[in-house]
């Protein structure tokens, strides 16, 4: 007599399920194999081929790619015209990231601490809704909003603040003829488009901060400002860093927004687009594409060293 009743049904599915129960790692391997293959071949593979391309160079006279390893293409990045593109893009990405953190924080804080029930559902809807509509439509809409004949100008005109807008637009470098052809305009559109990617992770991080930590801080004598500096902010920091990875890298790589809204000066994404397309300079395009990867790696390394992930 066996001690355990044998299952009455020994269908193939039952036997499979039993086998998986006995060898849990087999099931894990089977589940992980397809995504790992996909990631490994499509993603890492193409990344690697990109990296290889950036070490080739182009013959300046014939325009033919020379398949010999060289750092010459990377050297070209440091030519003033190219170098400017990198600095411009990085500064814009940094500005967009800082601004979206500042704008997102109160929204996320409200949603995490105070919003309940329907209001909370409304918050998620409000944060996600912009992501549902077409990216291009949103940007063209912004072009209209920011244009000289647009609603912002109309409102500013109506309340008699035209002088202020003019003063802002006359600031060198970031100003321009109108908002839609200035860096300020590009910045505003970037801020709008990537904001949800900052709000959601910050909100998730704040949601995990137990309310009694804030009470404990107050109980120990901390003012609201001190509680923010010493408890809320450090605990929200992993969320802010997660959000900044999105806003920073998305801005670094975008080539459509600066094309439609802003001055005609190039951003990294546009440079990549131009070099791999009409110019046919794949190596330089690849080298440009490596820049955001390096900047992000550097940024994450610095964030980790600063202890941004300690609260995880």
């Amino acid at each position: 007599m066996s001690a355990i009743d044998q299952p009455t049904s020994t269908s193939f599915l039952n036997r499979m399920s039993d086998a998986f129960w006995r060898r849990p790692k087999l099931l894990l391997a089977l589940m992980l194999a397809p995504p790992l293959l996909w990631l490994g071949m499509i993603y890492v593979g193409s990344l690697f081929s990109l990296l290889i391309q950036s070490f080739f160079s182009i013959d300046e006279f014939s325009g033919v790619i020379q398949y010999e390893f060289t750092l010459k293409t990377y050297g070209e990045l440091f030519r003033p015209a190219n170098y400017d593109i990198i600095i411009r893009t990085t500064l814009m990405a940094a500005a967009v990231t800082v601004a979206s953190a500042i704008v997102a924080f109160p929204v996320a804080y409200y949603a995490a601490r105070y919003a309940r029930g329907k209001i909370k559902a409304l918050f998620y809807l409000g944060a996600m809704l912009p992501l549902w509509s077409s990216y291009l439509v949103k940007i063209y809409a912004w072009k209209l909003i920011l244009a000289k004949e647009g609603i912002i100008n109309w409102i500013v005109d109506g309340i008699g603040l035209t002088w202020l807008l003019k003063a802002i637009l006359s600031i060198p470098v970031i100003g321009g003829n109108s908002l839609s052809v200035s860096y300020i305009g590009t910045f505003l559109v970037f801020l709008y488009v990537w904001l949800p990617f900052m709000i959601l992770p910050v909100q998730a991080a704040l949601e995990r901060v137990p309310g009694n930590l804030l009470e404990a801080s107050g109980d120990l004598g901390a003012s609201s400002r001190q509680t923010f500096t010493h408890v809320i902010f450090p605990l929200a920091l992993p969320g802010i860093v997660a959000g900044s990875i999105f806003t920073f890298s998305l801005t670094l790589g975008d080539y459509i927004i600066p094309q439609i809204v802003g001055s005609s000066r190039l951003f990294i994404g546009q440079a990549v687009f131009a070099h791999q397309g009409t110019a046919g300079n794949i190596p330089l395009a690849a080298a440009f594409a490596v820049v955001p990867i390096l900047i992000m790696a550097l940024y994450l390394w610095a964030a980790k060293r600063k202890g941004a992930f300690d609260a995880l």
């Binding site: 137990p210 120990l220 010493h230 408890v231």
Partner: protein, 330 residues
């Protein structure tokens, strides 16, 4: 003696729910005061009213003779040990303990020194560099205690601080808390639903039920002379005898309390009542015998030396006359 905390007709309503309903009480300085009651009886809300996390709907609270109205928690001379400790997960133990001093602007060297001294007091000398996540429940509890005490509060509030600990550790911490309180001379206000804890630690205790204080007194008072049926039952699971039975027994015609341990089983004619054994529960150190007497079930804890009756057996019960305590209120 100075009054540390005084409640004057304090109520706290949440909508139609009266969490705290017209509570008046005085806590003397330097005492270990327990607030005892079932969950939802308003004791924790009272604690939050003292700490300032919550504000009374009506009435006044004075802390050392000064009104607490409009004073935020960070400017009250009270500190709290939270139920689940609420340690800051991103700070190590030493920085957790030094937090209160840090926000008050104490110099770094001085505050870390004081934190280390306080950690030594709670016997966690070598744990300063650890993160709260690396500590056991009992150790976290000590850190929470040190973090509150380092601020030298005039009143320490403890919200079910031992609830999450296992029995052995809980008993050990009870002793330590009591001796710490005696050594420091600080007023402790301790919230618990565990009557044993309240009786063994408190100098004075208030029994809460449905937002009201049912009885205030010393542990002996409350245990031996419960004022209401609720107190008799909640504190020490006393037998509550109905008025007619008490009258039959020659007592007053009032609800009365009769402690299970003061009843003995007898078979001779001295028995005051007789009944049938319904069940016996083994409790380790004693047995609890349920005896049906008329319509009432009386529970008896016979001394370990006396032989146990059998279920279904008819037995007589007796007690000394002063064991039957008649209560003033229902």
């Amino acid at each position: 003696m100075t009054t540390a905390v005084e409640f004057q007709n304090v109520s706290r309503h949440f909508g139609s729910i009266k969490a705290v309903d017209d509570v008046s009480l005085k806590i003397e300085e330097g005492t270990f005061f327990a607030m005892l009651g079932p969950s939802g009886s308003g004791k924790t809300t009272c604690l939050r009213l003292i700490s300032g996390f919550d504000r009374p709907t009506e009435g006044h609270i004075q802390i050392f003779g000064e009104t607490s109205e409009g004073i935020p928690p960070n400017r009250r001379s009270v500190n709290t040990v939270f139920q689940d400790y609420a340690l800051f997960p991103h700070l190590n133990v030493r920085d957790n303990v030094a937090y209160g001093l840090m926000v008050k602007g104490e110099a770094k060297a001085s505050r870390l020194k004081q934190a280390d001294e306080m950690l030594a007091l709670v016997k966690l000398d070598d744990y300063g560099d650890r993160k709260p996540a690396q500590l056991s429940g009992g150790q976290r509890q000590r850190v929470a205690l040190a973090r509150a005490l380092v601020n030298r509060p005039r009143v320490l509030l403890l919200d079910e601080p031992l609830g999450a600990l296992d029995l052995k550790l809980r008993e050990q911490m009870q002793d330590e808390l009591k001796s710490l309180q005696q050594a420091l001379g600080i007023t402790f206000v301790f919230v618990t639903h565990d009557q044993g804890e309240a009786l063994s630690m408190a100098d004075s205790l208030a029994v809460f039920n449905e937002g009201k204080i049912v009885q205030i007194g010393t542990p002996q008072d409350v245990y031996q002379r419960p004022k209401t049926r609720f107190v008799a039952d909640f504190v020490g699971s006393s037998n509550v005898l109905p008025p007619d039975l008490c009258a039959q027994l020659g007592g007053e015609s009032k609800w009365s309390s009769l402690r299970p341990e003061s009843i003995s089983i007898t078979e001779d004619a001295t028995a005051k009542v007789s009944g049938t054994v319904k069940g016996i529960r083994y409790l380790g150190s004693a047995n609890r015998v349920a005896v049906a007497v008329a319509d009432t079930e009386i529970s008896v804890m016979p001394s370990a030396s006396s032989p146990l009756p059998e279920i279904g057996q008819s037995i007589g019960l007796t007690w000394s006359n002063d064991a039957l305590h008649s209560m003033d209120e229902e």
